[in-house]
């Protein structure tokens, strides 16, 4: 039986901005099992980062959590407990959860390290704060961590400052910082977006390696389905503050049900596809400061139904692992077929997968 580490239920978050109230997250459910990787995919502004920031308790001050629960199961003084993180004060979060149990890697390694503190001190700070680890011991562990994340000559790097390192190195440091206190959950917020393509792959592999080695659970945020295919077991597709389709990687890639997921898949370049046939999703995500009536994807949806104008579709289960929020799946839904382009692509992907599995 799989152990559930994190369970988010009906999370809703609003931001107070000068342009009015923005409903960034509108009822998100999310499950994370021990040792597994869940990806959250979506365009910028879909609420994926906000969701994880709420889990970390680092929402900016103008954000309020309207409803929801975040149940986190962890070991506390030798006993396994499950607590609602939303009941924790900021201070409690920092003391008991952040770094110690849930750690995070951010998007831009160029800006996410403190420029005035040496690498070594930034890595040991977590240990020193949470466990009052002796400086020598913490430093020894930091050197090991640097080795783990693939930094050569770790001893002398400890004394370096962020500006002396390249972007890829910095992201490795950030990963080392995140791992310093042996967390159970690692949240990666687009950890490769700001890096060169060649380094992207290396960092992805590094995170996977580490996951294998220490059995940590990972939440992976990205807008890149290619990354998802590589790292994740479960996928949540987010649109306009809601999860519109969730399932295993196979579910999402081979049997996508939501027109938005179709769009994302079609927009993903692969070797066989002519660039002419790369289709982008028309239009832009909705303005979240307005009340959303009906399906927020309606105006951009080729497969829109009349009912989408009025009622937002709930998640409708397709299988035990797979569900999507589209009226197409309703018992009343009309007959439809996948875009031919996508059909062809899925067939190709399946063949490739077979090929790799065989070879």
């Amino acid at each position: 039986m799989k152990e559930k580490v994190l369970e988010v239920r009906d999370l809703a978050i609003t931001f107070n901005t000068s342009a009015g109230k923005v409903k960034a997250v509108r009822g998100v459910d999310l499950d994370l099992y021990k040792g597994e990787t869940v990806a959250i995919v979506g365009e910028s502004g879909s609420g994926k980062s906000v969701t994880t920031k709420a889990i970390m308790g680092i929402l900016s001050n103008n954000g309020t959590i309207d409803s929801g629960e975040i149940h986190y199961t962890f070991e506390k003084e030798g006993e396994e407990v499950t607590e609602n993180l939303l009941n924790f004060s900021k201070k409690q979060m920092r003391k008991t959860i952040n770094g110690k149990h849930i750690a995070m890697i951010f998007q831009d390694p160029m800006t996410s390290l403190d420029p005035t503190m040496s690498i070594g001190n930034q890595i040991i700070e977590g240990m020193r704060t949470h466990y009052k680890t002796k400086k020598k011991i913490a430093q020894a562990k930091a050197i090991k961590l640097l080795e783990l994340v693939g930094i050569t000559d770790p001893k002398s790097r400890m004394k370096n400052y962020p500006h002396q390192l390249s972007g890829g190195m910095r992201q490795r440091i950030v990963i080392a910082i995140a791992l310093a206190c042996d967390p159970d959950v690692l949240i990666c917020d687009e950890p490769t977006t700001a890096l060169d393509v060649t380094i992207q792959a290396k960092i992805l592999e590094l995170i996977q390696d580490i996951q294998k080695k220490i059995g940590i659970s990972v939440i992976y945020i990205t807008h890149d389905l290619g990354v998802v295919a590589k790292v994740a077991e479960y996928v949540n597709v987010m649109y306009a503050g809601k999860i519109v389709e969730k399932g295993t990687v196979d579910d999402i890639f081979y049997e996508p049900k939501h027109p938005y997921t179709w769009g994302l898949l079609l927009a993903m370049p692969d070797l066989e596809t002519n660039t002419e046939k790369l289709v982008s999703i028309p239009g832009n995500p909705p303005n979240m400061s307005h009340d959303i009536v009906g399906d927020p994807f309606y105006p951009r949806n080729k497969y829109a139904l009349h009912i989408d104008k009025e009622i937002e579709p709930p998640l409708i289960a397709v299988s035990e692992t797979h569900s999507a929020a589209t009226w197409l799946l309703s018992e009343h839904g009309p007959e439809y077929s996948l875009p031919t382009e996508l059909q062809a692509r899925i067939t190709r992907m399946k063949e490739e997968a077979k090929h790799y599995a065989a070879g």
């Binding site: 959860i97 952040n98 770094g99 998007q107 800006t111 420029p115 005035t116 949470h130 910082i177």
Partner: protein, 313 residues
Amino acid sequence: MKKYILKRIGMSVATLLVIVLVLFILMQLLPGSPFNDERLSIEQQQVLMSKYGLDDSVPVQFFRYVKNMLTGDFGKSYTISKNTDVSLLLQNRLPTSLLLGGLSILLGSVAGLLLGVAAALKHNSLLDSMATFFSVIGVSIPSYVFALGLSYLFGFQLSWLPMLYNADDGLRAFALPAVALSMTVMATVARFTRTEMIEVLNSDYMQLVESKGVSGIQLIFKHALRNASISIITILGPLVVSLMTGSLVVEKIFSIPGIGQLMVQAIQSNDYNVILALAFVYSALYIFVMLAVDILYGVLDPRIRLAKEGANG
């Protein structure tokens, strides 16, 4: 770092030399040289000229002037205190002014930092609005207006504190002028600290620090304020200038026997040697502060401290 410091020192020396050159030229231009006295015959003037080395070539004169300035030989006062060495006038007054300036900077920076940090931490709260309001007022209103108000209210109407300076009062005598001068410092520091702190607190690396589980005092002082302070110390230079200007007026209002009051007297009585000497002293002080700020900046910011030798910067 070495190169950085050497470069700053070089720049400071160059600036000081330029100032001395300007003062030297001014000295030649200014009317009222004692040797222009019509009662003296040409021969007598010649004797005087050679006695004071005025018949030497201009570069020689200039270098002598530089040497005099650096050794504190500023010549004699014409009008304020006839034939007294200017250096003697300064000797008594400089410490008083430095004490007043130091007190004001200390008072203003501490209060300003606290106010600025508090406002940034409680961004968009009532406290923040109030801090912003007070700092706009403090920045806008010249220190001598504060001085006049304080002097009238606490000195004259309420008689709580001395209205005029008296050395016997000790630090009490500095209370009103130091508070008046520190208002601008406080407001400027608070304003700047608030902006810098808000920027730092919203930065990506603070999110990482928070997600490490660091909070409270450690978060504010070890990370936020440390990063903000790099920019905050750069306002020290402009502050010293405004303090100098302010001290001229405030020393006059409270009749404090400092160099500010001396400057005002010298200006009003055209005592050129005193003016030139003070111009030199003020410039030297300012250049010294700027140099200290630059070096401190380099020490605080590892990007400068660890810059590769030979690299530009």
